[in-house]
Structure formats: structure tokens, C-alpha cells
């Protein structure tokens, strides 16, 4: 009896919500039924909220701008740096180090990953050294690279490449081994050579993993370039941060951090865009924001 009553009470509600749910669209996003427009509005709203909390916290707690500047001071510093043209030059240099280092690290990781992924013998011989190299913090090796390759951009490119290399390598190896066994056997039954199997099955199967590695790599590349510049440089955003640190310009430093974050976000988005085009058959990159 009681259950019948509660069912009857619940029924009108269920009927009322059903048409509303049908109206929101044919294919709701997996994380909640948010339309792209609402999603964007939420993102902007949250950004405004963060800035507002930051601003009023600084004002109410009377924090010295020398220690922790408010958003307005940071914005002012940013505009100044852009207008004077000072930041453009340094962005160019750091961006070059990021992209060149990423390119070298990614290519090296891909090639070595492809070799190791193909042969368990090569894995047994080479991989321990790769892991040993990876466990050494690159920050600790950076001074050596500066010693070897100079204060110029070359040393930063090398440091960045060593950081990018590992996630790309590890993902390539795992990816090349991810192809289902029956798919490979089917190819073999049709008299496929190992090269056919590699090109037609293993490599395409590896691509989603490779792109996950590249995505981690491009974000780490920003860190690599800045670390390199911290150790010893004559230009670049990392150099600029140190310079402003010496002159106690906290707002100026924050402005550079904003620029760095923007660089990271743009690079990540470009990578995501390319990945979606290339590996169109998976939805691995429709919402990728995982770290290493």
C-alpha cells in the first residue's frame, strides 16, 4: 500500500521531467547535460569569481603589493610590458626554445619508442638506462647542459628535449603493444608481413597513446625552457622573471606567469586540435587534461 502511494506521488514528477530532458538536445555531453553555451558561461563565470576573490582578499587583508599584487596591478604590469614591446622579444625566444626542444625530444622519443616497442630484446637492453636517466631530475642536470652548450638558447633546447623525451617514449612503447592480438593474427592469416602489421595495425593503434605523450610533453616543454633560463640565460621569460625578482617587481613577475600559462594553454589546445583530426576514430582527446 505505502509503496503504491509513493509511486503515485512520484509519477507526476517523472512525467514532468521527461519532456524537458528531451528538449535539451539529441546528444547531451557525457559530463552532465550542459550545452556548449552554458558550459562556456560557467567557465567565464568561474574565472570572474576567482579574480574577484583574489582582488577583495588582497584589499581586505591589506597585503603589500610588493609581496602579493592584486589582479589590477598584474593587469597593469602586463599591459605595460606588452606596450613597451619588452615581452614580445622574450616570448619569441622562450617559445623558440619550447618548440625546438619539443620537436627534438618528441622525434627522439618516437623513434626510440618505435624501436623498443618492436623488440623485447631492445627493451631489455636499453630501457633500464632510459629509466635511470629519467630518474635523474633534469633541474639537477641543467647546470651541466649550460656548461656544455653555453648561455645561449641551445642549452635550453637540450634541457627541454630531455624532459619531453620520456613521456613520448613511454607512451609510444605502450601504444605499439596495445593492438589486439586477434587483429594482428587476422592480418597474419592474410599473409601480412611484420611491416604490414606495423603500418596497418600497430602504428595506428599506438597513435592515441602517442598523442597523450605529446600532450604531456608540450606542457612539460614550457617548464623545461624556464628551468633552463633560470640556470643561466641572457634572454627569455625565465630570465625576465629573475630580473624582476631582483628589482622586487612582484606584479611584473605575475604578469609573466600569466603569459607562461597562456602559452601552455594555447600549445595544449593546438595539440588537442591536431589529435582530434588525426585520431578521429577515438574520443580519447575530447576531454583530455590528465597529467603525467
Amino acid at each position: 500500500m505505502t509503496s503504491a502511494v509513493s509511486n503515485a506521488a512520484a509519477m507526476p514528477n517523472a512525467q514532468a521531467t521527461a519532456p524537458a530532458a528531451a528538449r535539451t538536445g539529441p546528444d547531451p555531453a557525457p559530463d552532465g547535460a550542459l550545452s556548449p553555451g552554458r558550459r562556456r558561461a560557467l567557465m567565464v563565470g568561474f574565472f570572474v569569481l576567482v579574480i574577484a576573490v583574489w582582488h577583495f582578499a588582497i584589499v581586505l587583508l591589506q597585503v603589500s603589493p610588493l609581496i602579493f599584487p592584486g589582479p589590477l596591478a598584474v593587469a597593469r604590469a602586463l599591459v605595460e610590458a606588452i606596450q613597451s614591446g619588452e615581452i614580445a622579444k622574450h616570448v619569441g625566444i622562450t617559445l623558440y626554445e619550447i618548440l625546438a626542444g619539443f620537436a627534438f625530444g618528441a622525434v627522439f622519443g618516437l623513434v626510440l619508442g618505435a624501436l623498443i616497442g618492436q623488440s623485447t630484446l631492445l627493451e631489455a637492453v636499453l630501457y633500464p638506462y632510459v629509466v635511470a636517466f629519467q630518474t635523474v631530475p633534469k633541474v639537477a642536470v641543467a647546470p651541466l647542459f649550460v656548461l656544455w652548450f653555453g648561455f645561449d638558447t641551445t642549452s635550453k633546447v637540450v634541457i627541454t628535449a630531455t624532459i619531453v623525451f620520456f613521456p613520448v617514449l613511454a607512451n609510444t612503447i605502450v601504444g605499439l603493444r596495445s593492438a589486439p592480438r586477434d587483429q594482428i593474427e587476422l592480418m597474419q592469416a592474410f599473409t601480412a608481413s611484420p611491416w604490414h602489421v606495423f603500418r596497418m595495425v600497430r602504428l595506428p593503434h599506438a597513435l592515441p597513446y602517442v598523442f597523450a605523450g605529446l600532450d604531456i610533453g608540450i606542457v612539460l616543454a614550457v617548464i623545461g625552457a624556464i628551468v633552463g633560463e633560470f640556470v643561466g640565460a641572457q634572454a627569455g621569460l625565465g630570465y625576465l622573471i629573475l630580473q624582476r625578482n631582483f628589482s622586487m617587481d612582484a606584479a611584473g613577475m605575475f604578469a609573466i606567469l600569466v603569459v607562461l600559462s597562456l602559452i601552455g594553454l594555447v600549445l595544449h589546445s593546438v595539440m588537442k586540435l591536431i589529435a582530434r583530426r588525426v585520431i578521429f576514430w577515438t574520443d580519447a582527446f575530447t576531454d583530455l587534461s590528465r597529467g603525467s
Binding site: 589486439p180 586477434d182 587483429q183 593474427e185 587476422l186 592480418m187 597474419q188 592469416a189 592474410f190 599473409t191 601480412a192 608481413s193 604490414h196 596497418m200 595495425v201 595506428p204 585520431i279 578521429f280 576514430w281 577515438t282
Partner: protein, 267 residues
Amino acid sequence: MNMPLTPAQALPPAFSFDAVQKVFRSKDGADVVALRDVRFEVRQGEFVTVVGPSGCGKSTLLRILAGLARASDGRVALGGKPVTGPSRDIGVVFQSPVLLPWRTVLQNVLVPAQIQGRDMKRATERAMHYLELVELAKFATKYPSELSGGMQQRVGIARAFVNDPMLLLMDEPFGALDAMTRETMNLELLKLKARTGATIMLVTHSIPEAVFLGDRVVVMSPRPGRVTQIVDVDLPSPRSLEMINTDRFGIYVSGIRANLNAAGGLD
């Protein structure tokens, strides 16, 4: 005891097993006999089905014929020549369609032609021909993810036919499909067989399916995997779904089931 073999015809057999053994070494080092003294031969153009419970070695038998596994002992011949590895004369269909998700339906069907370096223009014509036979020509430019399970398996069948193989090997091709789709697929396969005249060996664990499709049914039992019976199915062709409800069909099915029960039972 093996049943007497069918007398050799004028043509050489499409394939033959002679005293075939397969022994696996298990992880604890003990030898497991997967196949013992398997011997039968199949005429060209014959549809032979192999039925038995899981673990009876029927898939192993198919893998040996496909050149994906090697017999420990005995002789396996394809068109009179010993099998040494995968052959261009064989088309295979597995239980899962294993299509390449980044290739369209047509590109998937063309995979064997591409591997074997065939003339792609002619292969494309053939691919479209077989896609028409499995009623998927309209879907040639679609991707596998846009197709149902039954449609994907039909793409796999068209792919197996694309190089006009002498022999088609099917390892529980409809095992993952629902009962209704499965019946439709059985009928389509028989039509395809009638139109191409291909020799087919199909492995299944469904006794009715084995009787419905096969000109002959090879019955296998586990521990060790061996052939316990070879049944000539004398049912009128073309076969129809109504036939499944007839007494004669029922007698074949219950006869095979009784044989399997006596030999250790269906698990």
C-alpha cells in the same frame, strides 16, 4: 572410433588432416594434448562444420589449417600441398569482426587485397560486389563504429571473400550475435556459399547451427581433443529456417548430442 572417410573424388581434396597431433606445454611444465589423431578430408566446394564443447581443440584445428599454429605431429595439406604457414588461398573470419576503426567499410574489405599486393582497381570492384552480396554496399563509406555488430561481422565476411580464396575458415563467426541475427546470418552465408562455390570450414559450439549449415558435421570431444564422429547431413538444399522444426533435423541434432554426452558431455 572414427567414422569411415568419404571416398576420394576425382578432384584432390580441398584440405586434409592426417594423424594430426597438437601438444601444448602448460605453465606448470606439463604437456596438454589439445588434438589427438585427427584425420579427415574435405572435398572442394564442401561446407564442413566442426562442433564440440570449449576445449575440444576445434579452434586449434582451424588455426593449424590457417597457418597460425603448427601441428606437433601429422600431416596437414591444403590443395594437396603441405601447410607451412598462412596461405593466400585462405580467407578467415574470427568470432569478433576485428575491423580497423580508422578505415571505412570498403577500406576494411580491401585489407587482404592490399596486403597481398593485388590490383587495387579490380579488388575494389570485387569488394563492392561482395559488399552487395552481404547487403552493405550502401555503407561502403561508413566507419565500423557506425555499424551494428551483425553488420560488422558481415563486413568481416566480405573481407574474407575479397581475394576469392579457395577455402574460407570461420571460427565461431556468429558466436557474439543474438539468436535472430544469427539465423539471418546463417541464411546469408548459405546464399553466399551457393553463389561462390567456396569450400568452407566453420567451427561452432552450437549443434543446430552445425547441422543447419554443414554438408558434413565433424564432432569433436575434449581431453584430449579428438574427432568422435563425422556425420553426413542429408537434408534438402537450399536449407530453410522451417527445416529446423522437422523431425529429420531433430534426429541429427539429438544424435550428435548423444554422441557428445557419451564422450564426456557438453560443458
